[in-house]
Amino acid sequence: MARIIKSFLIELSLVAIVFFIPCKASLCQDYGDALVSASIADARTLNPILASDTASSEACGLIFNGLVKYDKDINLTPDLAQSWEIKDDGLVIIFHLKKNVRWHDGYPFSGADVAFTYQKLIDPKVKTPYSGDFERVRSLEVIDDYTVKVVYKEPFVPALSSWGMSILPKHILEGQDLNTSAFSRNPVGTGPFKFKRWRSQEKIELVANPDYFEHRPNLDRYIFRVISDESTIFLELEAQGVDSAGLSPLQYLRQTDTRFFKQYYRKFKLSSFVYTYLAYNLSDRKFADKRVRQALNYAVDKEELIKMVFLGLGEAITGPFYPESWAYNHNVKPMPFDPDKASQLLKEAGWNDVDKDGVLEKEGEKFVFTLITNQGNEERLNAAQIMQRRLKDVGVVMKIKVVEWSVFLSEYINKRKFEAVLLGWSLPREPDNYDIWHSSKTREGEFNFIGYRNEEVDKLLTEGRRVFDQARRKACYNRIHEILYDEQPYMFLYAPDSLFVIHSRLREVSPAPIGIGYNMIDWWVPKKEQRYSRIAE
């Protein structure tokens, strides 16, 4: 064992010498060290077309590449593709692939891999949840090794971004059953890091891919540590056992406000791609009147929610896009917190406190409803309690019911058995919202579970996914935003900031609109500050 390590070290130092000679002192970025990131759950599979949980997707993102990816300003840029052409009003996309790309086992990457991945995505026997976008493809043709032509049944703007889907190696997977293949626990990709080992519920270890087509990552290793408890993750931060982890607002503001954290960690606050909302069941009589929904919106103080629940670390929102998105309409003026206005609107809608018991009535029915939210989300529960108090001030009784996630989905959301729910959407960068708002998406299990129906919105949603011109799309989505805020099918609440720390020995970490991971391969640690040995390779 010792001998093996020694010979590794010699080889490594040789490699290091070769690499370090050409680098000038001022620009020199040292190789080596590892980044240890904490994850609350273990990955389920490292086959990217089967993975749907966060942990799996994160690891897959470092091992695999798609044809396209988002750059730091959230624009699509080439990844495995060198370039692409969109023809025939968007019906045809031709990808020109990069020629110098090799799989981690040395086999060259080509268009055959793209075709193979596509076939697996639309294969009904493969347990992939991502076939939807690819069902719209009429045909996919490999013109030569480095050119792939995709023809669509109809123009579909999100098509291009759907090719961010990771590409699988045909030469390894051909003839295998993807659902049970050992590949899921021993993946081979084209990405900046190669898979090294996976100890279930402990860690996934990746090592730098020296032949990565952009350049070798400066870090030697990337390790996902599974720590199943949020408070334990924080304790590990205090012991420098992990280098990057998410924080709660309390941890961000108070618990990391110590000399130790200032010395060893950099804190980051970025806008996140999620928002929280209160959704009404629109088939419920109480919520059928737009004025009622507007009144409730006036009655709830969003700033107070952000201040209490996130200690101010969040942003009130007025529509179904994340605030940084080009689709977000910043001209929509938020309705202020105004209980008087709320009472007035409720009165107009016929709700009066006839018997003076503090609760409004209409035609003998009291304004009482139950808000359901999922268990295990303390933030939503706190928010619900604060809203409950505000609504009571205008004579509306909101009860809170907390239900386990699996039951929440199958018994309440999917079966439409709710009056109101408190939930969040995590949104892809692409603003296409068709599945959430289009009136055709209201069957059991679909995402327009509130039963929202508006002809203009339907038309705009359809246009938004067919027209490639960004300015015209922006007009569509801005108008949708405006209508939805006026109609209030959801009470749009807030988008919390995404808060995290990264160990300060890592250099070149710089936040951008997309987040921080976009230039991971450039991150580096000066030799003297490295904490993990280089024996990994």
């Binding site: 949840p129 976008d133 540590r225 892809p428 679909e446």
Partner: protein, 324 residues
């Protein structure tokens, strides 16, 4: 003896059938579907796909057919695949088993190592200062919630004093250590979990040992032994202790199912990749095959444990004989 054993073993079969049948229906009829199939409200995943995935898992068949299929497979020792990641259930269990077994066996070892001497000593020195102090301490530890002790222990030894690593069972560079380095690394990680998990048991068992020893010491044969002029040591350790240890055999038998059971709370605090978390996650995800494997495992072990306890008790204590 053999007929008795055979009878007991045969009795296990209908019991096991009943337990699996009830469990299967309780789990499948309880609200909530396998979460993997409904995703986390991911708008990218369409309804048709979820229906298709359900069909691929065979979840669209009638419940009784599903149970029949499961039973038939189980009889051939095929527990199926996990819905979560498509891996064999048996692989997933075998992967976790060593960790849980190690911790539980070590805890059990410490349990007997400390509880017996403490209990015996307290009984021999009944109503002295030693007895009172151990009584008080054991009562305190017995009353303390385990996970509270875990949190306090972590706070003290891992954060304040920095003597021990906080979580997990190995360091990140574990694979690159020499064999003794691995051993040291493992022990440093396991020491706190093992101590915390055995501490309540030590308190309980030493109380039990004390009363069992006291009873033994008050038996007529002890007076006989004493009157024979045997030394106090011989009386206590040769005659009384032997008899006082008898009931412990039962306890060993009854703790067999516990050997494979992991505590979810404990495992999440220390981030231990054990059986408890595996099955907890299976329950939350409604991963039916994994859950059913656990049901079978736990039921079998419980019944075997009871059987072993009964038999060994009769074996060491000739006063007990099987009734027909």
């Amino acid at each position: 003896m053999i007929t008795y054993l055979a009878k007991r073993l045969i009795a296990i079969i209908p019991l096991l059938l009943g337990i699996t049948l009830i469990s299967f229906f309780v789990i499948r009829l309880a609200p909530g579907k396998p979460v993997m199939l409904q995703q986390s409200l991911n708008p990218k995943i369409s309804l048709e796909e979820i229906k298709r995935l359900e069909k691929l898992e065979g979840l669209d068949k009638p419940l009784f057919t599903q149970y029949k299929n499961w039973l038939w497979n189980m009889l051939r020792f095929n527990f199926g695949r996990s819905i979560g990641d498509g891996r064999l259930v048996i692989d997933k269990i075998m992967e976790r088993l060593p960790v849980t077994l190690t911790i539980n066996i070590l805890s059990l070892f410490f349990l007997f190592l400390f509880a017996i001497p403490i209990g015996v000593k307290a009984a021999v020195k009944a109503n002295t200062a030693f007895d009172h102090i151990t009584t008080l301490v054991t009562f305190l530890f017995f009353a303390a919630p385990t996970f509270w002790l875990a949190l306090l222990g972590m706070q003290l030894f891992c954060i304040q004093l920095k003597w021990l690593p906080i979580s997990g069972i190995t360091s990140l560079d574990f694979e690159y250590l020499s064999w003794w380095g691995k051993l040291v690394d493992l022990s440093r990680h396991l020491i706190l979990p093992v101590i915390v998990s055995s501490i309540g048991g030590i308190a309980g068992l030493s109380r039990y040992m004390r009363s069992s020893m006291l009873e033994a010491l008050s038996q007529p044969y002890i007076y006989t032994a004493r009157s024979k002029g045997l030394s106090e040591k011989q009386v206590v350790y040769k005659h009384a202790l032997r008899n006082a240890l008898l009931p412990l055999v039962t306890i060993v038998g009854l703790s067999i199912p516990g050997l494979l059971g992991g505590s979810i709370i404990f495992e999440s605090i220390f981030s231990i990749p054990g059986i408890g978390r595996l099955f907890y996650e299976a329950a939350m995800m409604r991963d039916i095959n994994l859950i059913m494997a656990e049901v079978v495992l736990v039921a079998l072990l419980t019944m075997m444990g009871n059987l072993i306890a009964d038999i060994s008790y009769a074996y060491v204590d000739p006063r007990i004989r099987y009734k027909k």
